[in-house]
């Protein structure tokens, strides 16, 4: 495959960004949207070609552009590396990216900064492609930081709103904490291996040359990298930015904060699976954190009333399940869930966007309801995706989630229980969302009701495509015969042997339990919101455990108290005490000098005679010093 075409695929979103950023205003909205979408579609087409090519040959492609820098024995190339994993990620990043671009052309139609929105989206796709195709950790870091920047820009896209700005800042700062982990991990890996090129790293670890003597240090490295992943992929303890990130426009939430960027952490760990396999302790930590995150986020999701917040917590919860799978070294299953999740979560977000679009920016589910009859396509796609995420067979979510739970069952029963509970809760809150939004009567204002309408075709087409994918996406990795496992086999070092896919009685029982769990969740939601027609009360009326959930376990408040307040106090201490002290000392000298010079000024009174006398006296002193006093 021609390397120039691949580079073209990488660079064209950047070109789209430059055109839209520099000339977007002059081009007009429709042309700007066309350029933004077309560039991504071209990338997508090339990605498909790449995917087919790699699938056929099974060989990775490495494009070496130039040597970036070298320090003694350590050198870093500016190079790209396309293997099976990269191809897969490129495929769904550009694929879903194209659909969301198309969707945005009508969703953002009213916005005055339309061209800027498309510029940022293109830039995001570019950085995401760099992230997944970099040939070493530093190249990945370029993309890693780039997508963080785009996320920041897009969350704060409506920057007139102060709260949105705060949300974008929060996302950025939380990500910085994780990025530090990423960097520390990179540095330790450089120290251990002397290289950060993925291929070389893999060769070294497979041969086991250096890793064995640095076991503890390697654990620190992988832990630090995992901290990086928790920042980007919104895991405990750094997940709090993701729900706030819903301040951005809905397509952004769908693309960045559900389908692509938040999976970067999973991509990174899968990319370095050979390193993580060497540190089982860290893997345990990952699994536990993933499980707890999944459970906590799902339980918070039960009590949220903002349609996008529910989806955000759902995303965090699903990401937690993925990390759980990674913790059990089941990388291909995590990747599988990433893909299916990308389909149905993007569909859900776009569907919610369609709803929000229809009722003019209203996001509170308590003011929705009965939208089924107004928005048939949106409802149908939303239903499919909701069934998929709840884990109803034969939709995609069932397969991927079931695989994760099965792996958990084989490895760690408590985590299996936690994961199952999270799944049941997922089914409950997703159907709660569905019922509150689409069933019963409309609860909004009359004016809103009059304007209810189905979204235009450019918005429904992506929905339909994504719903179909969400429905059939499970086919790529059927239990027993997994195409994905075979495809990813070259990337993952210790896969097939440790996770045999034989289907026994246990597996069928587990599947049954999962389905029953999902049905229980759905049933509860049906009972509560359809039969009894309950509507969630206001936040200040909830009590007990519900109150804790509605307030998101007070995690933001705890962070406030533990980290922000002491920092503020420290800042206040420095400002009020130390600064006063320092400025006091400095000002003392300044005052002293000023006073002395003020007195000295009086000597210079303009009397030339005095000057002359001073001059003569000075000369005499100099002569005295030079010739006499010696």
């Amino acid at each position: 495959m021609d390397t120039n075409i691949l580079l073209f695929a990488l660079i064209i979103p950047l070109i789209g960004f430059l055109i839209n950023f520099l000339f977007g205003k002059k081009l007009g909205k429709s042309l700007s949207g066309i350029i933004g979408t077309t560039t991504i579609v071209i990338s997508f087409i090339i990605s498909v070609c790449l995917f087919l090519h790699i699938k056929e040959t099974g060989e990775a492609i490495r494009i070496h552009l130039f040597e970036w820098f070298s320090l003694k024995n350590f050198k870093i190339d500016f190079a790209f590396y396309f293997d099976q994993l990269t191809a897969l990620w490129l495929l769904f990043v550009t694929g879903i990216g194209s659909l969301i671009h198309l969707y945005s052309t009508s969703y953002m139609k009213e916005d005055e900064n339309f061209h800027k929105f498309f510029a940022y989206l293109n830039l995001f796709i570019f950085f995401m492609m760099v992230l997944v195709s970099g040939s070493n950790l530093l190249m990945m870091f370029i993309g890693w930081e780039g997508v963080g920047l785009c996320s920041y820009l897009l969350i704060g896209f409506w920057h007139q709103n102060r709260e949105y700005n705060n949300a974008s800042k929060k996302a950025f700062i939380m990500n910085r904490v994780g990025d530090l982990g990423f960097l520390v991990g990179t540095f330790i890996i450089i120290y251990i291996f002397g290289t950060i090129d993925f291929v070389e790293l893999r060769e070294q670890t497979v041969m086991g040359i250096t890793a064995s003597s640095f076991a503890v240090l390697l654990s620190f490295a992988t832990l630090a990298l995992f901290i990086g992943a928790t920042g980007k992929s919104a895991q405990l303890p750094l997940y709090t930015w993701l729900p706030d990130a819903m301040a951005g426009p809905t397509p952004v939430s769908a693309l960045i904060h559900a389908a692509t960027m938040v999976t970067a952490g999973i991509f990174m760990i899968t990319r370095l699976n050979f390193l993580f396999d060497l540190t089982p302790d860290v893997q345990n930590i990952i699994a536990i954190i993933g499980g707890i995150t999944a459970f906590m986020a799902a339980s918070i999701g039960l009590m949220q009333n903002d349609i996008k917040k529910v989806l955000a917590y759902s995303t965090v919860s699903q990401l937690g399940l993925m990390f759980m799978a990674i913790g059990f070294a089941a990388y291909e299953i995590a990747v599988f869930h990433v893909i299916t999740h990308a389909f149905f979560k993007a569909c859900l977000f776009l569907g919610s966007g369609s709803v929000i679009h229809a009722i003019h920016g209203e996001q509170d589910m308590r003011h929705m309801g009965g939208l089924k009859k107004y928005m048939k396509i949106t409802y149908a796609t939303f239903l499919v995706s909701t069934l998929a995420i709840s884990g109803i067979p034969p939709l995609s979510g069932f397969f991927s989630k079931d695989e994760i739970l099965m792996t958990a069952f084989h490895n760690n029963i408590p985590l299996y229980i936690i994961g199952s509970l999270a799944s049941i809760m997922t089914a409950f809150y997703m159907f709660r969302l569905l019922y509150l939004t689409f069933f019963n009567k409309f609860r909004g204002t009359k004016e809103q009701e009059a304007h209810l309408h189905e979204s235009p075709a450019s918005m429904t087409i992506p929905l339909i495509v994504l719903a179909i994918l969400a429905a059939v996406g499970g086919l790529i990795s059927l239990p027993g015969h997994s195409w994905l496992n075979e495809y990813l086999a070259p990337v993952i070092v210790n896969n097939a042997a440790s996770h045999p896919h034989h289907l026994g009685t246990t597996e069928y029982i587990l599947m049954g339990i999962a389905v029953i769990g999902a049905l229980i969740g759905i049933g509860l939601a049906y009972n509560k919101y359809i039969k009894n027609q309950e509507i969630p009360v206001n936040d200040n009326q909830v009590r007990g455990i519900q109150k804790v959930l509605a307030n998101k376990y007070y995690l933001d408040e705890i962070y406030m108290a533990i980290i922000v307040q002491p920092l503020n106090m420290l800042g206040g201490f420095f400002k009020n005490v130390i600064e006063l002290l320092i400025s006091g000392i400095v000002l003392f000298f300044a005052k002293f000098a000023s006073e002395v010079s003020y007195q000295g000024k009086k000597l210079q009174n303009g009397n030339i005679g005095l000057y002359l006398f001073a001059f003569v006296f000075g000369v005499c002193t100099m002569i005295y010093y030079l010739f006499i006093a010696r």
């Binding site: 210079q604 030339i608 005679g609 002359l612």
Partner: protein, 106 residues
């Protein structure tokens, strides 16, 4: 031919130059008329010149006397400029009393 330094000695010229220079200093501090102060400066310059010539004789070296030429040229230039400035000042404030020139202060 006999040289005067053989009879009198260089020391006496030095003392004479010192005294003349001191007189110049005295004049500068004593008078407030700018022109007389100029004259005092000329006296000081001449004290230096005298010493230069005396030492030129003592070392039998023409360079000292060449230096006197330059001093004279500089003195001429200085007087020309200085007097022009004085004229200009006189036009502005109607006096060349240095006690009236009090603008030079901080």
């Amino acid at each position: 031919m006999e040289n005067v330094l053989q009879i009198i000695g260089i020391e006496n010229y030095i003392y004479l130059a010192i005294l003349l220079f001191s007189v110049g200093v005295f004049g500068i501090l004593y008078r407030r008329n700018a022109i007389v102060m100029f004259m005092s400066i000329e006296i000081m310059l001449n004290a230096a010149n005298l010493l230069l010539v005396a030492f030129s004789n003592y070392h039998q070296d023409p360079q000292g006397q060449v230096f006197v030429f330059f001093t004279m040229a500089v003195a001429a230039a200085e007087v020309a400029i200085g007097l022009a400035i004085l004229v200009s000042i006189y036009r502005h404030i109607g006096s060349i009393d240095i006690d009236k020139l009090k603008n030079l202060k901080g």
